[in-house]
């Protein structure tokens, strides 16, 4: 159960949104995009100071004991303000893996460090570039050797530790790996929405048995990925809210052929559809988060529906935001293209629409009941 009340969450949202509006404007963000890190360590320190980084970390580890609902509030604001910081990999994935699967020593070492902004962690899981070559852990004296490759490691360049999903005797296991360990190679690039991302090679990397997360099994990972999918939905909802707001403002102010372009019925209906899509994505996302948080048996169904619908909405809102802006929407200087590219990425993270729909279709074919109380 979350330590937060509904009112707490509202205050949290207000405070993050205020930060985004006042301190994370376009110029600030443009400077971050040009920086080597690709995100802002000073903003990260501020988030820590404001308590956001510990929002879903237990109080005994220096956090404030929230959970997915509070992370979602944060992610929604991150979408709204197009924040560049590693909230998803560090707070949702890595802290989630440690909270759910780490031992006391691992938690004590890393969770306070995350909450205080002293450590950035990420998770390298299903290989993004070649699922034919998983990372294999082979036992050695007192530890293991890791070999293999993982792609699409978000914020790999900044990570103090990388939690790597490996195959150990045919089972899933998670290991803490230092990026500076011998045998670790990282190659860096950016995602389509400008986030740092890396490919990771592990070549006979020696890890100790104590680097293994004892609870890091397939079921933990499934839960993490469900939570991450919803965090991404929440971020998409925030980005759609902002994109719709920008587009609506543009429709009201831009004139062409002697009228505001928002006076054209086709533009009006398009904007209505964008608004409905966002509304639907928001409702199902929050319903799914509520279900996960309260242990509702519908949680998996609702999560799949949330990711599928918010992905569909993200596509519609992203594409039509550009279209309704016309030429100005194609420029890097204007914000709407950044929302578009962020929505492009969010659509695909933790399962694109089709993947979730196929699961949902399979469950539905098997039976409609059982998900209601």
């Amino acid at each position: 159960m979350s330590a937060f009340t509904t009112e707490d969450r509202r205050l949290l949202a207000d405070s993050i949104n205020r930060y985004v509006d006042e301190a994370y404007g376009p110029e600030h963000r443009a400077a971050i995009l040009k920086s080597d890190d690709g995100f802002s360590r000073s903003d990260w320190a501020t988030y820590a100071a404001l308590g956001w980084l510990g929002i879903a970390i237990g109080e005994e580890q220096g956090g404030s004991g929230g959970g997915l609902a509070e992370l979602a509030v944060l992610m929604r604001a991150a979408g709204r303000g197009l924040l560049m910081e590693p909230l998803l990999p560090t707070l949702v994935l890595a802290a989630g893996a440690l909270s759910g699967g780490g031992n006391a020593q691992q938690q004590a070492q890393w969770l306070p460090a995350i909450a205080e902004g002293r450590a950035i962690l990420t998770l390298a899981q299903d290989d993004a570039a070649s699922d034919e070559t998983p990372v294999i852990a082979s036992p050695t004296e007192g530890g293991y050797r890791l070999n293999g490759r993982r792609g699409f490691v978000l914020y790999g360049a900044a990570a103090d530790q990388i939690i790597v999903k490996v195959e150990l005797a045919g089972q899933v296991a998670l290991f803490l790996v230092s990026p500076t360990a011998p045998g670790v190679t990282l190659a860096h690039a950016s995602t389509v929405d400008d986030r740092p991302v890396s490919d990771l090679w592990l070549d006979d990397v020696a890890v100790a048995a104590t680097d293994r997360l004892p609870g890091g099994d397939a079921s933990l990972l499934a839960n993490l990925n469900e939570a991450a999918a919803l965090a991404v939905c929440a971020e998409a909802v925030g980005a759609m809210e902002a994109a719709n707001r920008l587009t609506l403002d543009y429709l009201k102010t831009r004139t062409q052929f002697g009228s505001s372009i928002g006076s054209f019925q086709v533009m009006q209906h398009r904007m209505v559809d964008m608004s409905l899509a966002m509304q639907e994505a928001s409702a199902i996302t929050w319903a799914a988060i509520g279900a996960v948080t309260s242990g509702n048996p519908d949680a998996a169904l609702l999560t799949a529906a949330a990711k599928a619908r918010s992905s569909a909405a993200a596509r519609l809102v992203g594409e039509q935001s550009i279209q309704l802006h016309g030429g100005i929407g194609m420029t890097e200087e204007y914000a709407i293209g950044h929302y578009y590219r962020r929505l492009m990425l969010l659509e695909t993270l933790f399962g694109a629409a089709g993947w979730h729909l196929d699961r949902l279709g399979g469950w539905t074919a098997a039976g409609l009941d059982g998900e209601r109380g």
């Binding site: 509520g290 509702n296 599928a308 074919a365």
Partner: protein, 401 residues
């Protein structure tokens, strides 16, 4: 409170369980079978079910207690609608209990309440709605049917159309023009017309599903007692809008879509093609998932509105969203049904729509009912203000465009 939390509130869950169990035991099997097969319902089928609900005290559960209701909240009403629809109950014909009744108890005179409400509650009086006209589909301000005061009567002339079930009706509530001055909306009055009055002619309209739900109603010098005017002359538009607001939270028809999804699922399991059930085809599986996702999302949107209503806020024009999403989902579901049937050929054996029909089916036995539903439901994006008009409303009232 989030909608999903609200839905798991023990009192709410208990109410839902009560309705569900009641439907399981009290809904006559023959009526349920007709509904699920998409067969024709007779007037008596509707009346029988509505009297069962009346006996239970639920037919006007959403009315205030002083008028015989249960003071249900919008959420309770939505749950009632949801569960009865899913159970395969007939459509709760709304003309009396949802439309005429609330307008009468809100704006009518004490005499009108005494005279009309009992028959509405018991379904002893069948009502129909006289709004649309040939020249005014979604554009109600353009109403041309005239009511001219003549002593203690109005003399009504004009024509109404798309009048659902008028062929069974004892009474019709109408919007009529009593003045041509000022804004068109301001000359409209709300008048109750006895369908047995001289000068009332009902002409059936067959619809594209080959069924007869709709009618034209011709009004030729119909003399209507002035006592049948509800509220004030010229305020009919206001009453009609009040009524619309009342109904908007049910616009999504989640219960109906749930029933359609159940039927689609069963059909996909039943129809074999190339040695496998359609439900095992990857394309059908994804499409089923897509429809399920839309239904879950629509429920989530509804629950947010209901949670807000439960917290005391009155829904505004933004609720047009429910009509748009709900009607488009219904069409998505019936379209999928027809596509599933099409694998074996779209045979529309209309005699099989009669419950008494006994011969062997030609083609798939599910086909007639599902094709009928599909054809009929092309109207869901038209009636009650087309979806184009709903989008105009949202653009203007919600987005400020």
């Amino acid at each position: 409170m989030l909608g999903i939390d609200l839905m798991r509130d023990p009192a709410i869950q208990a109410f839902r369980g009560d309705v569900r169990r009641f439907c399981e035991t009290a809904l006559p099997g023959d009526i349920r079978a007709k509904v699920l097969a998409g067969q024709h319902l007779e007037k008596q089928d509707y009346v029988r079910w509505q009297k069962i609900l009346f006996d239970k005290g639920w037919i006007v559960g959403h009315w205030p207690r002083q008028y015989g209701g249960q003071d249900w909240t919008p959420l309770q009403r939505a749950i009632f609608d949801d569960e009865t629809s899913k159970a395969g109950a007939p459509w709760l014909t709304p003309f009396g209990v949802c439309y005429a009744g609330p307008v009468i108890y809100t704006f009518g005179s004490p005499a009108q309440k005494d005279r009309f409400l009992p028959g509405i509650r018991s379904t002893d009086t069948w009502w129909c709605q006289g709004y649309s006209e040939p020249g005014a589909g979604s554009d109600l301000a353009n109403i041309k049917t005239r009511a001219v005061r003549d002593g203690d009567h109005y003399v009504v002339n004009g024509q109404k159309t798309w009048t659902t079930m008028a062929q069974w009706a004892d009474m019709m509530f109408t919007l009529v023009r009593t003045s041509s001055d000022g804004k068109p909306q301001n000359g409209i009055s709300f008048l109750l017309i006895d369908m047995n009055s001289p000068g009332v002619t009902v002409r059936p309209i067959q619809s594209i599903d080959k069924c007869h739900h709709l009618n034209e109603v011709f009004l030729d010098d119909v003399r209507v007692p002035a006592d049948n005017l509800v509220g004030e002359e010229g305020r009919g538009w206001t009453y009609a809008k009040f009524l619309l607001n009342n109904e908007r939270l049910l616009g999504a028809e989640v219960g109906k879509s749930t029933r359609l999804l159940q039927q689609l699922r069963q059909t996909l399991l039943d129809i074999q093609n190339g040695g496998q059930a359609l439900a095992d085809d990857p394309h059908w599986r994804r499409r089923l998932g897509e429809l399920r996702a839309r239904l879950l999302a629509l429920e989530a949107v509804c629950n947010e509105y209901l949670a807000a209503a439960e917290a005391g806020s009155t829904p505004g024009l933004e609720v047009s969203a429910l009509k748009i999403m709900g009607s488009e989902l219904i069409q998505g579901l019936t379209g999928a049904m027809v596509d599933a049937l099409a694998v074996k050929g779209l045979v529309y054996q209309t005699p099989a729509l009669d419950a008494g029909w006994q011969a062997a089916p030609v083609g798939l036995p599910q086909a007639p009912g599902m094709i009928r539903e599909h054809l009929h439901d092309r109207a869901t994006t038209i009636y009650g203000g087309t979806n184009e008009i709903q989008r105009n409303i949202l653009a203007k009232a919600v987005l400020g465009l």
